[in-house]
């Protein structure tokens, strides 16, 4: 149907403007990241490359950047899952524990299975990892919808339980995983040696899938709806329970993917893996603009949030700050980042308001 005359004609303009608004919310984080990166590059010294002898910047070099991407990958991958849960109005504190359990089970399954061909090893490992994380997510989801207890409590309970299970089955041993897995996750893909692009690529893939899920699919829309107003969603005929179940499963699986990458990259898994990650992950999601009240958030922003946290941590190393201050800096930076992000987008919204209010004037009916 064509746009009729009258009021709706300048709709694309509004859409463009509000689209920019949305995109620029992420732009804000991107700009913060770029400024931070530029400052670090300027402040960091340089050193001669051990192999080529060429002078390289201590921050802006392929190794450091890829290292940061790898560091961020666990937070970012789980952050996408956490964002989806948070948009639905829930919270998942158990991701760190799922990360540990999935890694440990995978390592134990592969140890028990004994030597196999590399492809079989990878597939079995991936299957074990994702299977465990799916079951854990399902458990969370079923309890959240079935027991009518706040997800904070459910996932706090499963966080303790799942880590306890990981601990009991692994006896706290660090279990090595077969090198076939490491070969895949540390594949150079034609880059220089000791540059590992795979964790970065997995992160990007997960972010894109999460983003498409949220923005383009019916399920994604439903996640926003139940996070915004669960009762109205029920009155609109949405399967609220199904959607909730879905988000916890997604969050669980995101922890499973992160566990696979982590265990394969570092070559081992143990029951204490991922301790405390839940808070970093939620922080990444919220720095990325997800609202803990539900109904608001973006997968791409979660990735940017994770990158920001990792960059701040890296800054302490790069600037050779006293590491004793790490916690103080990270805590402060977390608050500042969220405030900057919020006030930035608020400012933008106000400017746009002023601009479009004048622009709108003539078209009032």
């Amino acid at each position: 149907m064509e746009a009729t005359a009258s009021p709706t004609t300048d709709l694309p303009l509004f859409r463009r403007v509000s689209g920019t608004l949305l995109r620029s919310q992420q732009l804000g984080l991107v700009i913060v990241l770029i400024i931070l990166g530029a400052a670090l590059t300027a402040a960091a010294g340089s050193h001669p490359d051990r192999v080529t002898g060429a002078q390289v910047n201590n921050f802006l070099n392929a190794y450091t950047l890829i290292q940061m991407a790898t560091d961020a990958s666990a937070f970012a991958i789980m952050g996408v899952g956490a964002t989806i849960v948070i948009i639905s109005g829930g919270i998942d504190l158990s991701v760190g524990a799922i990360y540990a359990l999935a890694g440990v089970v995978m390592a134990m399954v592969l140890r028990a299975a004994g030597p196999m061909g590399p492809i079989a090893t990878v597939l079995l490992g991936l299957g074990a990892c994702l299977g465990v994380s799916l079951v854990c997510g399902l458990l969370n989801g079923l309890m959240v919808i079935g027991l009518g207890v706040h997800p904070f409590i459910i996932t706090l309970g499963t966080m303790w339980m799942l880590r306890g299970i990981a601990f009991v089955i692994s006896k706290a041993e660090s279990i090595l995983v077969p090198s076939a897995l490491t070969d895949v996750v540390k594949a150079s893909l034609g880059f220089r040696t000791a540059l590992y692009p795979v964790p970065l690529l997995v992160t990007l893939l997960v972010t894109v899938i999460g983003s498409v899920y949220l923005v383009r699919t019916v399920m994604g829309r439903h996640v926003f709806a139940i996070g915004g107003n669960v009762e109205a969603s029920r009155f609109s005929g949405l399967g609220v329970d199904r959607v909730k179940l879905g988000v916890y499963v997604i969050s669980g699986i995101s922890a499973g993917i992160a566990a696979f990458v982590g265990a394969a990259f570092y070559g081992s898994a143990t029951s204490s893996d991922g301790t405390g990650y839940e808070l970093y992950v939620i922080a990444a999601a919220v720095v990325g603009g997800a609202s803990l009240a539900g109904g608001k958030g973006s997968a791409v922003s979660a990735l940017l949030g994770a990158l920001l946290i990792v960059t701040i941590r890296q800054a302490i190393r790069t600037l050779h700050l006293d590491q004793n201050y790490e916690w103080i800096i990270i805590g402060g930076a977390l608050i500042i980042a969220v405030v900057l992000d919020q006030s930035g987008s608020r400012l933008l919204a106000r400017r746009l308001a002023a601009a479009s209010a004048t622009a709108n004037r003539p078209r009032a009916a």
């Binding site: 201590n58 450091t64 601990f167 706290a172 070559g267 143990t270 893996d273 301790t275 590491q323």
Partner: protein, 331 residues
């Protein structure tokens, strides 16, 4: 068959009741509460195995059932340890074996346990100002010094180094760091570029080493105050043994390839199994058999390098570690 002095209780006939009392002729069980720092740290699990092995062997020899009541908190928390000491006393355990997360928080609890008739022994991490009767272990500062001295030796007394320090809030690790720094000060050529903390998991520890190595590309040597990063495989491939040398505390099975490859030419193993084994024997001697025991049973670090790698691997296997690579056992 009832033990105990001052038998003024009318209801003390429960058949399964544990009985205590020094002179007990019919004594059937002897319970030792073992309180290590944290149950997620594998070194303490090996200590528990040692304790249980000692308990078994005493049981076989004497006919008394010696039980190890494992009361280690899941996370390091000295207050919880103090609580568990009291719990052990309240539950009627016969002795307590403790590795203190924070010595000064445990003085009161130990002294009270002793006052209420339960002797306490410490291992690994002492509470010297308390009334514990004996301590089995080394000295954290000395351990730090030893690691740094070895690193200096490996690097010819000069070079730029980093210290990997574990959880920044752990007092015993801070003592090792202090020892390492004091020792490094003796070598004018050794320059400490940074002290790096991390969450105490293998993956986080390994990631921290890589981060630091990127930020300080000229680090040539590492003093690991705990073996965390070596419980992964990643440094095996990501660090070049020709450019970086590591000396680390701990020598668990997953660390052996690092020695083999030369990246960590020397590891200082704590005989963690003996934490339990030696301590339980000592407790038995003192508490049950009334023997005199020294107030400090010295625990020496075991220097593991290529020359004794196989011997050490076998030792680990004997101590009950299941995943020792057979490669090191067969030679």
């Amino acid at each position: 068959s009832r033990g105990g002095a001052g038998n003024d209780s009318a209801t003390s006939g429960t058949p399964n009741a544990t009985t205590a009392g020094a002179s007990a002729s019919g004594k059937k069980t002897f319970t030792i509460a073992m309180i290590a720092k944290s149950s997620t740290n594998p070194v303490f699990l090996s200590g528990r195995q040692g304790a249980e092995a000692a308990a078994d062997s005493i049981g076989k020899a004497t006919g008394v059932t010696v039980k190890i009541d494992w009361l280690t908190p899941p996370n390091e928390d000295a207050a919880v340890q103090a609580q568990r000491i009291a719990q052990a006393v309240n539950a009627g355990d016969d002795a307590i074996l403790l590795s203190a997360s924070d010595a000064s928080k445990l003085v009161g609890a130990i002294d009270e346990a002793v006052a209420r008739g339960v002797p306490v022994m410490t291992f690994d991490s002492d509470v010297p100002t308390s009334k514990r009767f004996s301590f089995y272990g080394g000295d954290d500062e000395a351990m730090g010094r030893q690691v740094m001295a070895e690193l200096a030796k490996q690097m010819g007394g000069k070079g730029k180094i980093g210290i990997l320090a574990g959880n920044q809030n752990a007092p015993n690790l801070q003592k090792r760091v202090k020892g390492a720094k004091d020792e490094a000060a003796k070598y004018p050529g050794m320059q400490i570029l940074g002290t790096f903390y991390h969450i105490e998991t293998p993956q986080d520890a390994a990631a921290e080493v890589l981060r630091a190595q990127n930020a300080y590309p000229d680090i040539q040597g590492w003093a690991f105050i705990g073996g965390w990063p070596l419980w992964t495989k990643t440094l095996l491939t990501d660090l070049d043994p020709n450019k970086v040398k590591i000396v680390s505390v701990d020598a668990l099975p997953s660390e052996l390839p690092y020695v083999d490859k030369g990246l960590a030419p020397v590891l200082f193993a704590q005989p963690t199994y003996n934490w339990g084994y030696v301590s339980v024997k000592t407790i038995w001697d003192h508490v049950h058999d009334k023997k005199d025991v020294p107030a400090h049973v010295q625990m020496d670090l075991i220097r593991v390098d290529k020359s004794n790698l196989n011997q050490w691997a076998k030792q680990l296997k004997d101590w009950g570690f299941s995943d020792v690579d057979p490669k090191y056992l067969n030679q």
